[in-house]
Symmetry: C2
Subunit: 361 residues, 2 copies
Amino acid sequence: MNNHRITISEVAKAAGVSITTVSRYLNQHYQAMSGETKQRIATVIAQLNYQPSPLAQGLKGNRTHTVAAVMVNLEYPFCMSIIRAMSGVLTPHRYKLMVCETLGDPTEEEKWLQTLQAHQVEGMVLQTNGANNDLLTHIAARQPVVLVDRQFDVPQAANVITNNHEASARLTLGLFQRGYARVLFVGETPGPVSTRQERLTGYLEACQQTGFEPWTVAADQPYGPACQAVVRELSRNLPTQPFAVYTANGLIMRELYPLLRQLPIDVPKQMGLATFDEPSWAHIATPSLTCVRQPTALMGELAAKAVLRQLGETEQGLAEQGDNLPVFGAVTTVPSQIVWADSTAGPTRSHSDDKISDDTL
Amino acid sequence: MNNHRITISEVAKAAGVSITTVSRYLNQHYQAMSGETKQRIATVIAQLNYQPSPLAQGLKGNRTHTVAAVMVNLEYPFCMSIIRAMSGVLTPHRYKLMVCETLGDPTEEEKWLQTLQAHQVEGMVLQTNGANNDLLTHIAARQPVVLVDRQFDVPQAANVITNNHEASARLTLGLFQRGYARVLFVGETPGPVSTRQERLTGYLEACQQTGFEPWTVAADQPYGPACQAVVRELSRNLPTQPFAVYTANGLIMRELYPLLRQLPIDVPKQMGLATFDEPSWAHIATPSLTCVRQPTALMGELAAKAVLRQLGETEQGLAEQGDNLPVFGAVTTVPSQIVWADSTAGPTRSHSDDKISDDTL
DNA sequence: CTGTTAGCGCTTTCAA
DNA sequence: TTGAAAGCGCTAACAG
């Protein structure tokens, strides 16, 4: 078994040049190199199947070819989608992806930031809750940092979010328009998380605009018990008029849905159902579930591309799309799409006309 | 901005010792170190918030504190679950997780293996399709390699799988017992993938045992069109007696389910529905979906723990569970559980009695 | 119990 | 157009 790792000096020897020259070749410093040596080195590298050690390269203060994704919870479809999109962008550029889970714990997040610094990752994409913004500012000053999902003020970081407020308002308006006299908003206590804030304010704005009275219930984690409480609350205040239930994320709806369907209430005639996020089962539920489709894959893709471009990568569609790529120090908003389905067909209207996607933005 | 990374020599200076001593401290070579120096170094490290560079450590041929997960497709719930479980195990041990996606492409997988070698990850967990077993054998000879999900013969690798054959057979038997006269098995063409083979053979065995005639349709990716074809085939040969449809994985069922529900066939009386995998929407579907719950989280956890133990990590419940941990060079089977639900209540029986989990193994 | 020293594989001045 | 040599931060003989 050949347990030996091929080094630059072996390549140099085989090619009859110095390691300096090989290093130049590796770093594409072709300006000062005869086409012949260049060719020779290329051949030898191919023959020996040589791969430079990213560790050694990194140690010299340079590239580790590693980008990190720091996410709240890998179980959330949102996080996975970001990670998957990043992986797809990074791989062709031979960048590696390090995945970190914080569970929303600031201390855990800080540990990761330290660790990632130590590991000299070249850039990071994160879903933060804002507790480490000072450290992040520090980091963003010298390497590409992209904040996805949630909006925070970290000067030199890029921020990629969706139009939470607007999508939420439009969804709510749409529910009222479809004939529901009240809309129950079920979401987590916002705290410092912009997505939660904006989905709530969007909802409230729509209520105000239409003159309908707001009606909200908090559902914090763990969602299971919270949802049971919601159902109790609902049973207690059961409106006589048709109403809708709108959950601020797909995980809440996953818990709430079976509970609501057990109630003797007709969906969608008496009760409409809608959620932020597009659960994988939205079209499996009967009636199919109205939802807000976040452009998660696009957000991950843009985040990764922005990082790569900042790191000087150019090939493979980074440049072409350059103008639309997130800008560091600014907020990029990617619109969500409302997918109207049978669960909100309304008390009266036939719902066959309703299966139309509705672009927001 | 302090853009300076603290090095071992600064720690040494501050503690008034040589870097060797600090290095010894870092590597827990306490045997030859006065309690006093040990204490002093500890203090200085804490004060300076020093973190050794994993790159430099790795370069010396030692630890990079990185483990890789090489998965087929990050979109698959199975893969995500493995990754998430690994992350949970690795993080407390301060190991980092590198995530790689192969899309089932042997070339892509080989590239990753090369890259990971170059990067000196200390161990890897992979869902392979067997095309790079020689290379893997090579790698497994010098570092912990765990093959999850699928079974292959890689001498020194650990193999963590579930009892696909048995679970499939039991599910099929259960369907017959519940009064379905035929069971349509919908799965991918097995090829070299053990999970696909075993789920099929388990099904076939159950057919043979009971004397019912096998009935299979292939559904290869992309699943959408394949499922439409299945439905056409089904419409063509619609059994007069009650029958069941059993999909070999959850993604097929996700496509197939809405199509089947559009048919004018009563579920579960005329048609039973069951799937391998436990989709997140199994209890949301109406009727709730009978499924085979794979112990994905446990598999990921065991895989990561086996790697860590092999790497000499001892704390945090690795040792305690030591005896049950996967063994390198052997196959570890973790049982799946059949979750019987309303979708297979059978033509006649009341299905309230049926919501019982059924351990297999 | 502690320090000196020689690298790990690579990049990068500086000199030719 | 090329090479020699000095490290990057760390570990591990080998000496004391």
